[in-house]
Symmetry: C2
Subunit: 254 residues, 2 copies
């Protein structure tokens, strides 16, 4: 009785070489697998950041007085705190006992450590910052892949963020192109003909999460191919993930 | 260059008849598709609630004084507010201007309206409450499916919740059996041999989100089959989703 036409396939793509700043990441991604119209490529933030040169050695960071103060309070490396604050517009929460620093990044994301990460980075003391403009990164990758292979897939750039209320990190979309981050069903009707009350679906985040299920955290599988969601892929690049940031005045949890 | 062995397949299963209280839901689910060891079945909360008789007509609800007061403040139906409060242990946030009522349910979930929903419910004024014990529901479904077809799949019961900071609803797991809701990678090492800092992955939630991508919100596709994640399916039912509720004293956003 199943509807075989609607199957979604999620396939981690291996074989991407270590990415260096300035590499042609779009061509490298396009070479991983044959792409078809309607495909979506989920790319991990880290590989995009590396390509964009968003790697900083803590040895080169001089903490300012504010970072030094916060670092003492949280018992954290003042150089890392300096970077976190410089990537942020706001400190949202701190927890001195656990050394937690949750900020609002200049993109508008609310996450621990402004999304700065030190795992899977070659070189001691090197850390990776989020791309400056992840939606722009997604648009550039989409265009570059289109030039390389003739197909412009939907592109989602993702990272794993912690959440309020629930343990564990979930992969979320921080940039996208060619898919709408939100699928708005308001105004449509349910199976009883009643209007759906408030259903806006976080499509890009769910794609990021689905992609992550296939990924081995210890290996280099920075790209995951999602097939079967062609109805979500748009001709235009669309608004990007910036569109799914909850405006501060509507957010009850800042 | 892709690793074809790791493909995940997500397939919405159609053909489930309208579910009534007391129906043999496990057998009905087992009949939707042939199941194999390592399969995961994601089942929408609403169909489980219906089977468990968690449907209430607002016409039968008499609001108490507290509900009456909150209902006036929020300009909401006092009967629905009575139900929301009776399903909750705590009011977490209200927003009078937008009629928002976010509570902590007796399960420990933090969500709008205690997860009570009125879409896709037959009968005017009928609303559906969350299952009393969604992990127990998942375990019963798993056992029943095992009896019906000889295979005990991983079972995830899911609902769509709003989130802090990000617009849109994402499908999350509210109950599970046969999969661990959290995949703990702490202590393992990254590709450079360094210990992974703090990576606990919200596996059950990501499965719920992946399943939702294949679901048409206006039709009855309450079950989604996920194949290719057999390494996440356990012999034991495991701790259930209760295990992924962030303890209140560790939660910075209540």
């Amino acid at each position: 009785m199943s509807d075989g036409t609607a199957e979604i396939r999620v396939r981690p793509l291996t074989g991407l070489p270590e990415v260096l700043p300035g590499d042609d990441l779009a061509s490298a991604l396009a070479a991983l697998a044959p792409l078809a119209e309607g495909d979506i490529l989920a790319v991990s933030q880290k590989v995009v950041s590396k390509q964009e040169g968003r790697i900083v050695s803590l040895d080169e960071v001089v903490p300012g007085p504010r970072a030094a103060k916060v670092a003492v309070e949280l018992d954290r490396d003042p150089r890392l705190v300096e970077l976190i604050l410089s990537e942020s517009v706001n400190v949202v929460r701190t927890d001195a006992a656990r050394g937690i620093l949750i900020t609002e990044t200049h993109h508008g994301f609310i996450c621990a450590n402004a999304g700065i990460d030190s795992s899977n980075v070659p070189g001691s003391n090197a850390v990776v910052l989020l791309p400056r403009d992840p939606d722009g990164s997604a648009r550039r990758l989409r265009a570059g892949i289109g030039e390389a292979c003739g197909v412009r897939p939907g592109v989602v750039i993702s990272d794993s963020f912690g959440r309020a209320w629930r343990l564990g990190q979930a992969e979320v979309a921080i940039g996208c192109a060619g898919i709408n981050p939100l699928d708005d069903w308001r105004g449509r009707t349910d199976s009883e003909g009643r209007e759906l009350a408030a259903t806006v679906i976080a499509t890009a985040d769910q794609i990021a999460g689905a992609a992550d299920l296939g990924r081995d955290k210890t290996s280099r599988t920075p790209a995951v191919l999602i097939q079967g969601l062609g109805h979500l892929v748009t001709q235009n690049d669309g608004p990007g993930c910036r569109d799914q940031i909850r405006p501060a005045h509507e957010d009850l949890f800042r």
